[in-house]
C-alpha cells in the first residue's frame, strides 16, 4: 500500500474512532462532583505521530491544521484542537531528533512505530507529544489559572487514558507483532 493511501485511510479511521466512539465515553463514564471530572480521551493526534519520519515541517504543520480543524468541526470547539495540533506538529521534529540516533532525513519512507524506533522510545515519543497536546488543549479550553488543580487532574487522567488507547492502536496495527507471531 502506498504511503499516501495508508495515511489517508488512517486519517479517516482515527477521526471516526475519535468522534463516534471515544467522544461517547464520558456519557457513560464515572465522574464525581468533588473534583473528578468527566473527560474525553484523545486518540486522533496519533495521525500526526505516525506520519513518516522524513516528512517536512511545513507538511506537518499543514496536516496538523487540517486534522485539528476537522475535529473542531465535529466537537464544536471552534479552533482549540487546531491550535493544539499545529503546536504539536511544530514540536514533533525536535522530539524525534532528540530520540533518534541518526538524522531524520536518513530514514526514507519509514514511519515512527515499534519496529523503526523500539518500544520504549516510541512510547516516550508518544507520551511527550500527547502531553504537550493535552496541556495546550486544556489550558486553552479552561482558560483560567484559578482552577489549576482541576486543570492538572484533567490533563493527568486524560493523558493516561489517551496513552492506553494509543498503546492499543499501536499493538493492533503494528507489523512487528504480526511478524514475530508468524516467525
Amino acid at each position: 500500500m502506498s504511503i499516501y493511501l495508508r495515511n489517508i485511510i488512517r486519517f479517516i479511521l482515527l477521526i471516526l474512532i475519535q468522534v463516534l466512539l471515544l467522544n461517547k465515553i464520558p456519557l457513560r463514564w464515572w465522574s464525581h462532583p468533588e473534583g473528578f471530572p468527566a473527560y474525553t480521551p484523545f486518540i486522533y493526534p496519533l495521525f500526526l505521530l505516525l506520519l513518516p519520519l522524513s516528512a517536512p515541517v511545513s507538511f506537518l504543520l499543514l496536516s496538523g491544521f487540517v486534522l485539528g480543524f476537522t475535529i473542531d468541526t465535529f466537537m464544536n470547539t471552534g479552533g482549540i484542537h487546531a491550535f493544539a495540533c499545529v503546536f504539536m506538529a511544530f514540536v514533533r521534529t525536535q522530539v524525534l531528533t532528540a530520540l533518534m540516533p541518526k538524522r531524520l532525513s536518513e530514514y526514507a519512507n519509514s514511519a515512527p512505530n515499534f519496529k523503526s524506533m523500539g518500544r520504549t522510545p516510541f512510547l516516550t515519543y508518544a507520551a511527550i507529544l500527547l502531553f504537550i497536546h493535552h496541556v495546550v488543549y486544556y489550558l486553552l479550553e479552561i482558560w483560567s489559572l484559578s482552577s489549576l488543580g482541576y486543570t492538572f487532574i484533567k490533563i493527568g487522567v486524560t493523558l493516561v487514558t489517551s496513552m492506553l488507547f494509543v498503546l492499543l492502536y499501536a499493538l493492533l496495527f503494528s507489523n512487528s507483532i504480526n511478524k514475530a507471531y508468524y516467525d
Binding site: P26, L27, W29, P37, T73, M75, T77, E141, W143
Partner: protein, 275 residues
Amino acid sequence: MQGVDITNSSNAVAAFFYKKQNDVVYYFQLRRLNDSLLQENARLHNQLASSSHIDTLRDTVSRVLMAARDTSRTNGRDTTKATYAGPAETVKYALYHYTPARVINNSISNDRINFITINRGKDNGIEPGMAVVTNSGIVGRVEQVSQHYATVASVLSDRRVSAMLSDGTFGTIIWEPGSPDYVYMEKVPTAIKVKKGDTIFTTGYATFPGNIMIGKVARVDTVKSSNEKTLKIALSTNFRNLQYVYVVKDKIGEERVRLEANTRARSEDRQNNTP
C-alpha cells in the same frame, strides 16, 4: 463559535456522521425511551385531567360577552341580559409551541460550553435563541441552525439560567466544570428558608418557559462573609442519556424581546442625556 457557520456540528458533513451513528445506537435505547415516554404520557394525562374540560393546547375562537337589550319581550319591562353577540376574537391559550427533536450528538466533558446537536433545523421552524427542554427538565438554548440540524448550547456551559425557588425567590443558575449532574444557585439571601430536597423551577423571565423543573437542592452552603447562601442543585435532566428533547417556540416572544430592548435603550438614553 462566534457565528462561524461551517465549523460546528450542525453542518452537513458532521451531522451526517452523527445521524448515521445515532441511527445505529438508537435501537439499543428503545426500551428506556419507551419507559420515559409512558411516564410522560401519564404526567400529561394527569395535567389534562386537572385542568378538566379546557383544552389549553389549542387556540380557540370565542365571542366577547356583551350586554344586549332584549326587545322581544312585550310586557313593558326592559330586560337587559348578556348574550354572546360581540365580535369574534381568538383567545390565545397556547403561548408555546413544542417541536420534538432527536439528539444526534451530545457532549458533557467540555469545560466551557457543551453542545448538543439535534435533527431539526430551519425547515422545521427552529431559530437561534429558542429554549430546549426535555420531559424531566431543562436542556439549553439553540445556538446555530442549518437547514436540517441545529446545535444547542446546553445548561452545562457558561450560559446562565434564570431560576426560582418554590416561594418565588429568584436568582441565576450557573454551571461549574467538573460534573454534568450539578449546577449552583448563588447569592440567595440567608433570610430565605431553603432546605435539602426543595425543588427549583425556571422563572419564564428569559429563554425558558416558566415553572419547568430544574432540579432539587442537594446542599445548602452559607457564605458567612457576604451573608448569602449558595445552593448546590442536582439537575433533574440526565444529560448522560438525552434522547428526545422539545424545542420551545415562544409565539409572542419576539414582541416581548422587542419591548424589553426598547425599554432598555430608552432608559440608557435617559441616563446618557442627564448631565
